[in-house]
């Protein structure tokens, strides 16, 4: 059916998108259309499609700004939300939307959703092992007994083998880490005793804290992890994010595992992926608040943000701050700074943009104003 529709569409010289062809094919099937009817359908769809298309000169940016901005005013200031049942905190609502368009380097609540490859998807044991490799654990989590011995001037820690087994950690790895971090340490099976560099009570107490806080497992930048069963498969949600390191891990699904940190997506998967991430995150934020914005507006924003190969913010430090025209920049923010700099450098404004022409009182190059008229050459 799809091939048939494609052929008819070609014959009518219409350039339809893939999804439109699919829809027509479905409709044709549903209503059992014959060839003439299909012809007529494609003809009418073509007409409607041409009419719906955006014409050159339309102020799409302004429309996008209004379409995102208006629902934005209705967003609640309720900033925090719990993602599902787990006790993971995720910034949502207006603050999150601002974070996305500002292209913040450090977002307030980075989080990852880690999926697993087919063979491990239902393997709880494997997932728990990975979760403990990813999640941060400190010595404190695996201690059986811990005390400071002031008489002998050392810190004694007894490891709980059960806790280690429960966390699926490797005892030798822990010992290695301990030996690397502390020079003066004596190891007798699961009994560790640490000696301070200088012998003073102050040093001893500092050492005790250091021992307890020693990280014995975990991926950099990732804190707590939550394991959850979602629709017949195990998924790990994290507090903090490190996409590059997690994707390298054995058994992790390299297709679906994602983070909400757009800069990290850009670094690991490239600009195009960052563009998709922006669209996805922005839309998810709006959806969560029960607001609907047509994706095309968000796509336009994402396209502008990624147009020059890296993620740039909307605003002073990004798109608006890098405009070619002095007057356009000056009219946005930091007027004095821009005018002063431009005059020192001797910048030239070619008056090709909208804002410049509004400032000097000329028709703007938009809509009818973007069309030039000349007498026909004879």
């Amino acid at each position: 059916m799809i091939e048939k529709v494609t052929k008819v569409v070609k014959k009518k010289r219409a350039k339809f998108t893939e999804s439109l062809i699919h829809e027509i094919a479905q409709a044709a099937q549903r209503h059992d259309l014959d060839d003439d009817e299909l012809d007529e359908l494609v003809k009418r769809v073509k007409k409607a499609y041409e009419r719906a298309k955006i014409e050159a000169g339309e102020a799409v940016g302004t429309v996008a700004a209004q379409s995102v901005g208006e629902p934005g005013t209705q967003m609640t200031m309720r900033t925090f939300h719990y993602a599902g049942v787990a006790e993971l905190n995720v910034t949502l609502g207006l603050p999150r939307l601002i974070e996305i368009v500002d292209a913040r380097k450090k977002i307030s609540t980075p989080t990852m959703a880690i999926f697993f490859e087919d063979e491990y998807r239902n393997d709880e044991e494997f997932v728990r092992t990975i979760a403990n490799q990813i999640g941060k654990s400190t010595m404190n989590d695996i201690l059986q007994d811990f005390h400071i011995n002031y008489a002998e001037n050392n810190v004694v820690a007894e490891l709980n083998m059960e806790k280690i087994a429960d966390k699926r950690l490797n005892f030798d790895d822990i010992i290695n880490r301990v030996e690397k971090a502390f020079k003066k340490v004596q190891i007798d099976n699961n009994l560790l005793s640490f000696e301070p560099a200088k012998s003073s009570i102050r040093e001893l107490r500092l050492l005790a804290d250091k021992v307890r806080d020693l990280q014995i497992s975990g991926v950099k930048n990732i804190g707590r992890v939550v394991i959850r069963k979602e629709e017949e498969e195990w998924v790990i949600h994290t507090e903090g994010s490190n996409l590059g390191a997690v994707l390298k891990m054995e058994g992790v699904d390299k297709v679906r595992t994602t983070t909400n940190d757009i800069h990290e997506v850009e670094k690991v998967l490239g600009v195009e992926a960052a563009r998709n991430a922006i669209i996805h995150e922005a839309q998810r934020t709006m959806d969560e608040q029960g607001l609907t914005v047509d994706v095309r507006h968000i796509m336009l924003v994402a396209d502008m943000m990624t147009a020059d190969g890296s993620v740039k913010s909307i605003g002073r430090h990004g798109i608006s701050g890098e405009k070619a025209s002095v007057l356009a920049r000056a009219s946005f923010e930091e007027t004095g700074k821009h005018l002063l700099r431009a005059s020192i450098r001797g910048e030239i404004d070619h008056l090709t943009g909208i804002i410049e022409n509004i400032i000097i009182g000329q028709p703007i190059p938009l809509g009818t104003g973007s069309v030039g008229v000349v007498m026909k050459q004879k």
Binding site: T17, E18, S19, L20, H22, L247, K248, K254, V255, R256, T258, V265, K267, V268, L269, G270, V271, E272, A273, N276, A277, H280, V295, R296, M299, D303, T306, A307, D308, G309, S310
Partner: protein, 77 residues
């Protein structure tokens, strides 16, 4: 690992166009290469497929409105 990222669901298909294909597409759109959006030559995907500066990449995105959408980016340092 290098090729792994190309399989990720967020990464659309990137294909390097040959010189003649690139000229043809640019002509069809009636634009200069500088008018295309950019992609950095040290972008993870550029590196994975071995794109060099000046190449034009054809990117086939999955689109929620059009189903499939073809766009282009110029590789730039």
């Amino acid at each position: 690992m290098k090729k792994d990222i190309l399989k990720h669901e967020l990464v659309p298909d990137h294909v390097i166009l040959s010189k003649s294909e690139a000229t043809k597409t640019l002509k069809k759109m009636d634009i200069h290469p500088e008018q295309l959006p950019r992609i950095k030559s040290d972008d993870p995907v550029s590196k994975a497929i071995g794109a060099k500066e000046g190449d034009v990449l054809e990117i086939t995105r999955k689109s929620s409105t059009a189903g499939k959408f073809v766009t282009y980016r110029l590789v730039q340092d």
